[in-house]
Amino acid sequence: MRRNDCFFVSTNIFSTGFCSLRKIVRWMLVASMLTSMPVLAGKTLDGIKARGVISCGVSTGLAGFSAMDSKGEWHGLDVDICKALAAATLGDARKVKWVPLGSQQRFPALQSGEIDVLSHNTTWTLSRDASFGIHFTSIVYHDGQGFMVAKKTGISAVHQLSHADICVQSGTTSEKTLNDYFRAQKMKFRPVVFENFEASLKAFFSGRCQAYTTDASSLAAILQRETRNPGDYLVLAEVISKEPMSPAVRRGDDEWFAIVKWVVNALIVAEEEQLTQANLDTQKEHGNAVVQGLLGNADDIGKLLGLDRAWAYRAIQAVGNYGDIFERNLGSGSPLKLSRGANRLWTHGGLIYAPPIR
């Protein structure tokens, strides 16, 4: 009797165990179907429209590119790209869900479909483009990796950094570029790699490292925001790399890829044509053929992208042209006071260039 009881109980355990196993497998199937859904071609825009909001991956806080102010509002060049996208696709620049991501999480977040677009001060490289399952759309900022040193060290050029301890943040291309550059120059150095931004800055400002390296624009931001006396420090004039910053989208959705690419192009063309938030309405009626086309007063170009006529009009209305975005976030209108440099329009000797919108 006892044995029978035991047998009964144990078969019971077995069967419930098996049952829950089946349940788990079923749930996993459902879960895998859910996570692989956004991969289906052309569905990103449908998803955005259904949700009524764009999921935009930004940095956890980088002045000038994406940073939250004391009121909880996001500001920056990368932020404005997402606002322009929301205005073009949903008709309202405020319909953005901001997803702050660390350097390590940004690519998995895009790959898994958690975000629709990564606008995260991210360098466009071949390996990322070819093997991460993502596409970079177009360059929105030309940066380069630079060094910050304390003036009292007497360092004024990169070649003087031989045998220095150099602080760098982990999970960025800066770390790799730093290594490649010093190897190529046959210079020795000791990297001190931090995940914690505050700790890396503390290490540099306390004198633990002789130099701090990251993109030149970020160095300018750090100099402005983190030092009590910016005059004590120096950002070396040389840059050791090309760091073209571009938004990125998931592979497998060509329509969405085209939209992100052309919304940025529209902002650049708007600067070429000197379209601003102020003169947008008059230009729509009286502008030249390019302007009329861009603003949807001639042929319906928006339809080709799966959008409506006024897509570019709304994007420019929301954030202004590329030059306005730059000056507001990084240039004269910002605490960073960066000069346009390589980010001038091609017509002014810079590298910012967009294919024609026609």
């Binding site: 991969v39 390590q104 045998h163 301890d165 914690n196 505050e198 700790a199």
Partner: protein
């Protein structure tokens, strides 16, 4: 009472049944695991993400700031992981030894008859136990980098203390020649070096774990009935002898099992080292992850390494535990 022998079908034999059930559960688990792995790899493939462990033999383009041996940029990734693991073990093992010593001292201090000493030990335990380890790491790091002298301070002939840490001479191999640290334009090069990052992680882990161990050791000592001590005293044993031959061997039985948890926690907590710039396993895996894009593989390597380390620790501690169990006669 006479029990009549019953012959049961083989399936009803208890041990076969139990064995079958266990085998079934294991097979089921393996199936689920295989399914998960194949789903992961097919999903990665569908998203055009390159996967696999081939990257481990490719050259890593980054250098490592400190380590047991010099890792040169350009060596394969698996060597970088090995260097990271060596750094993890270096700091974790040293912290285990130091925290055991400190924990022992604090545990005895907690039971001291001296009010001042007891109070000090209680405050130590309460402070270090109740502040999150990450904050302790940052606090130690900020303190160390601020306090260390900017201009290298030379002492005992060839030892230097500076912002880049403590440098001291080290013999080269088994020969009688020494590698002496020396000044270069910015800092100290050569010799052996304990960086502020290493010291931060070492202090952080040691002081935090010691607080837990102290409580643990106090509980162990208090678990031995007072009669035992009195019996020892009646036999004319000195205080030292009572401690060594009566109190401590019996207390260890209570101390070792939870200590295993604390040491295993220490090893796992060493992964916080990346926040303060110490190149441990997680830090190296993080860098590799971002350079190669092999996120799933790098995370897998971290998980499996910590799992193996913890299992190894359990084996050692269980062996110790068996050694100190009361042998019943």
């Amino acid at each position: 009472m006479h029990i009549k022998k019953m012959r049961l079908g083989w399936l009803r034999q208890a041990y076969i049944k139990d064995w079958l059930i266990q085998a079934g559960v294991i097979v089921g688990l393996l199936l689920v695991l295989t399914y998960l792995v194949s789903m992961l790899s097919s999903n990665l493939q569908a998203k055009n993400i390159v996967s696999g462990f081939d990257f481990l033999t490719k050259p890593a383009s980054f250098g490592i700031g400190e380590g047991v041996y010099d890792f040169e940029a350009g060596s394969p990734y698996w060597q970088a992981f090995a260097a990271g693991l060596a750094n993890t073990l270096r700091v974790a093992l040293l912290a285990i030894v130091l925290s055991a010593v400190l924990g022992l001292a604090l545990g005895f201090g907690r039971l001291s008859k001296n009010i001042l000493l007891r109070g000090l030990c209680i405050s130590y335990v309460e402070i270090f136990r109740n502040i999150p380890l990450l904050l302790q790491f940052l606090a130690w790091y900020f303190l160390l980098t601020t306090l260390l002298p900017a201009e290298a301070w030379q002492f005992l002939g060839h030892c230097y203390l500076s912002k880049s840490g403590l440098s001291f001479p080290i013999p080269i191999g088994l020969s009688l020649t020494w590698d002496f640290p020396s000044r270069n334009p910015f800092n100290i090069a050569g010799g052996a070096r304990l960086t502020p990052e290493f010291l931060t992680v070492l202090f952080g882990l040691t002081l935090y774990t010691a607080a837990y161990l102290a409580e643990n050791i106090r509980a162990g000592l208090e678990s031995v009935p007072h009669g035992q001590v009195e019996a020892g005293a009646a036999l004319g044993l000195t205080h030292q002898q009572i401690l060594r031959h009566i109190l401590f061997p019996q207390a260890l039985r209570v101390i070792i099992p939870p200590a295993t948890n604390q040491f295993s926690g220490l090893i796992k907590s060493s992964s916080l080292a990346i926040t303060v710039g110490y190149p441990d396993l997680v830090s190296i895996a993080n860098t590799s992850l971002i350079l190669t894009g092999h996120a799933a593989e790098c995370i897998f390597l971290i998980i499996i390494t910590y799992l193996l380390l913890s299992l190894l620790l359990s084996v050692i501690m269980n062996w110790l535990n068996r050694k100190f169990q009361i042998v019943e006669r």
